[in-house]
Symmetry: C2
Subunit: 135 residues, 2 copies
């Protein structure tokens, strides 16, 4: 069995929020949108259907937990939930809080506008607030 580790490209533009039963939760460093990524801690997987059935059910529960935590923390008109993986093949799920006046609305968030830096300390503060609601 290969050992699990989070892809460097996911780690490189995010900060850790919490570890759920199955998934590591990351906050993407892009102030345009409150944006979480769930990475199931299973090595070598690319697609949701690569997960065992019980893990898929757990992943859905964790998507709901992350969604509720985001919605309780930030303004959110619509949640975007997506497992794409065309760029970073490791299985990961985006959970993004969208508002009808955000930088990419109504388009998806990927590749539309350049990431915007959070003010110093703001990403860490947001991650801490979300963490309280996750664990």
């Amino acid at each position: 069995m290969p050992e699990f580790s989070i892809d460097a490209r996911l780690l490189g533009n995010s900060l850790p929020v919490a570890d759920l039963t199955l998934s590591a939760v990351l906050l993407v460093r892009d102030a345009n949108y409150p944006w979480l990524i769930l990475v199931p801690r299973r090595a070598g997987l690319a697609d949701i259907i690569d997960l065992a059935s019980a893990d898929r059910t757990e992943l859905m529960a964790e998507i709901a937990t992350a969604s509720e935590a985001l919605r309780a923390t930030v303004r959110c008109d619509k949640l975007n939930v997506a497992a794409l993986g065309n760029m970073v093949r490791q299985l990961h799920v985006h959970v993004v809080a969208r508002t009808s006046d955000d930088a990419a609305w109504p388009r998806p968030v990927w590749g539309v506008v350049s990431p915007k830096e959070y003010p110093p300390g703001a990403a860490e503060a947001l991650a801490a607030e979300i963490r309280k609601r996750l664990v």
Copy 2:
């Protein structure tokens, strides 16, 4: 309770494939990518977390079923699974078979290239093949 019906914009560019326990399955009329949409037959919902917990688990099982059916029917290097809903607010989940030489790769499929017409009868034939693997 409002009655369930599928949004006219989803119906307008798709054809019906099958009815699963929870979701209606549609095939999008875009020959660029084999592209299914699952629409849970529950009225008035926008986000996955609007579903009851048991329905969320069923939705995940149906995402897996649709994914397996797609992968068994067409070439597929990567599955893209997404619930966005920024344009059509009714809860629906995209399940798209991507290949590394498709029209939008490696970008997401939404809004990148114009839909391409299937040759006459081809969409119906593909829907029939997928249906056999779904039911």
